[in-house]
Assembly symmetry: C2
Homo-oligomer: 330 residues x 2
């Protein structure tokens, strides 16, 4: 029996192109995710391989859902880098996918699937996802910070992603820290991401331990400094290790300073913090709040700072929210 | 003969409440300023005196222009502090006017003059003025930084002031600088304004000279360190004084770092720099550009950084632009 078109068919297909995985799923307007599919992104193999895998995973979702493309409102896709939103073309390079700049993703998706498609930066869409399906449901403006390998931010104003003139708004990880000589993947020197990104946390831990095999971080890494991860540092801090606690404290200070700077510029209603490292939870959030609230104008104002709610689904939710929004919903 | 209402009557009354002066004038939609009047603001005497002087100066403009209030589209007023824009009430304290918070300026003006009135932060309106009548005519988004006693910023997105949730957007002077212990007028510690504001520039000069009477800055201040001004420091730098040059360089670095941070968050089409200290011109702007362009993501992007065009009229122009905008023009 052929189903007639109903409210239940108001689903969007969301795609999240991450550093290691590409995932896709259907999302309905109530925020239910179905027919999820994953694949490795293989970004290092370059854009042709990545685009091929994006198409494959979308086909897989369509097939498993047994829906015609005509029953789907559109495709939303979040990916690293900045996009010319109108044309859906990558306008910045991204370190994880060689030759990414210039890829006309919107056009490729629309031609391949005969569906309207919209493409945006992954962190922007995580912010939009949190706005409509996560921690930001009740607010109109927020900045959602994503802390993992990199440190990014998505700015939502009046319920919409603020992309900026060069589609580079929210690039908070590239704020300069006085006295920081480190070179960043972006090509500049001194970016805060070199301190608070996963690699920065590990680098500082390795430097502070000075090979001391008795240190808890080292023991948790089985005596091998190459096995130290940011998660181990946070776990050691939770167990009271002095060096780990100092690294967490410094990380929180730098995150707090950057977040307060973003608040001083945009003054959002809410700050949301997500990403793999943010899973450390209150051990990181508490000192971040302390730093932020003592560095925003005017002091009695306390912009709420809450953990993200959507976890690894934020990108897919945001991609779907973008489709709903472009169709005049939300 | 009574004049009939015509396009020529499409004027707004703009008021700019500054630290030392209140000025007001009529502005037409082509940007012509007429019937300007000034008075001392006497902010230290508190809000009652300031409000009284605002009313007096508006009456003076109306009287000299020989217009009925009915021939004027409305009153726009820019003043220090943050305002609840909808209600036109000051929601933050301002160090220059005791008991400023809570003053219902919009209501007072509307009742007194039977005209619609809108009130906003002075730096926000300087930014709006530059957008519609000054350096930003051709762009849709800009951040206008005002550098004088304080260091503020106004954010314009899609031709409108972005005020933020607590009306505190653009408070760039209160961004924290790592390692800066100084207490700011806002109550926090470490704000960049304590370094780059006029007082900060003078303080650093006095400290660097160490009483050396032969130093050019000291000679220009007639041997009296209390007579050193930020203007003297810039003039001495222009004449090649080594200490002055270093202070200008450091000032430009901190300004550049802050501006690049604001760009990384908002990604505006244009940056405008105004205020008394910005009159130093290219000796300050050139090193600012260098710092900014090496600290924004992604490096080949070069957001233009230009001097403000409206000088001390920016506030009045912005206040008038706000009136035109609220009436559906602009």
């Amino acid at each position: 029996m052929k189903k007639s078109f109903s409210l239940n068919d108001q689903v969007a297909l969301g795609v999240d192109v991450g550093g290691t995985h590409i995932s896709a799923a259907l999302v309905n307007r109530q925020g239910k995710i179905t027919h999820r599919a994953y694949t490795l992104s293989a970004g290092a193999k370059g854009r042709t391989v990545v685009v091929h895998r994006i198409k494959k995973i979308i086909r897989q979702v369509l097939k498993s859902s047994k829906r015609d493309p005509g029953q789907i409102m559109g495709i939303g896709l979040g990916a690293p880098g900045s996009f010319d939103f109108e044309n859906g073309v990558a306008v910045s390079p991204t370190p994880n996918i060689p030759r990414w700049r210039g890829v006309p993703l919107k056009k490729i998706l629309e031609k391949t699937f005969s569906l309207p498609a919209w493409v945006d930066n992954d962190v922007n869409l995580a912010a939009l996802g949190e706005k409509y399906f996560g921690a930001g449901k009740k607010v109109r403006s927020l900045i959602c910070f994503t802390l993992g390998t990199g440190f990014g931010g998505g700015v939502v104003i009046n319920g919409r992603v603020h992309r900026g003139f060069f589609s580079a708004a929210g690039e908070v990880g590239h704020m300069v820290v006085k006295g920081n000589p480190l070179k960043c993947k972006c090509g500049n020197h001194g970016c805060v991401e070199t301190i608070v990104g996963a690699a920065g946390i590990v680098r500082r831990a390795v430097a502070a331990i000075k090979g001391d095999k008795k240190n808890l971080i080292m023991r948790m890494a089985k005596g091998n400094p190459e096995k130290i991860t940011s998660k181990i540092v946070f776990d050691a801090a939770r167990k009271g290790d002095r060096i780990a606690k100092k690294i967490v404290r410094d990380t929180a200070w730098h995150l707090g300073a950057t977040i307060s700077q973003a608040i001083n510029v945009v003054d959002p209603e809410l700050v949301v913090i997500g990403g793999a490292i943010a899973q450390a939870g209150e051990i990181l959030l508490r000192p971040i709040r302390k730093t932020v609230w003592s560095h925003i104008y005017f002091p009695e104002r306390k912009t709420p700072i809450v953990p993200a709610r959507l976890g690894e689904n934020a990108g897919i939710y945001g991609a779907a929210a973008l489709v709903f929004q472009q169709n005049g919903f939300l």
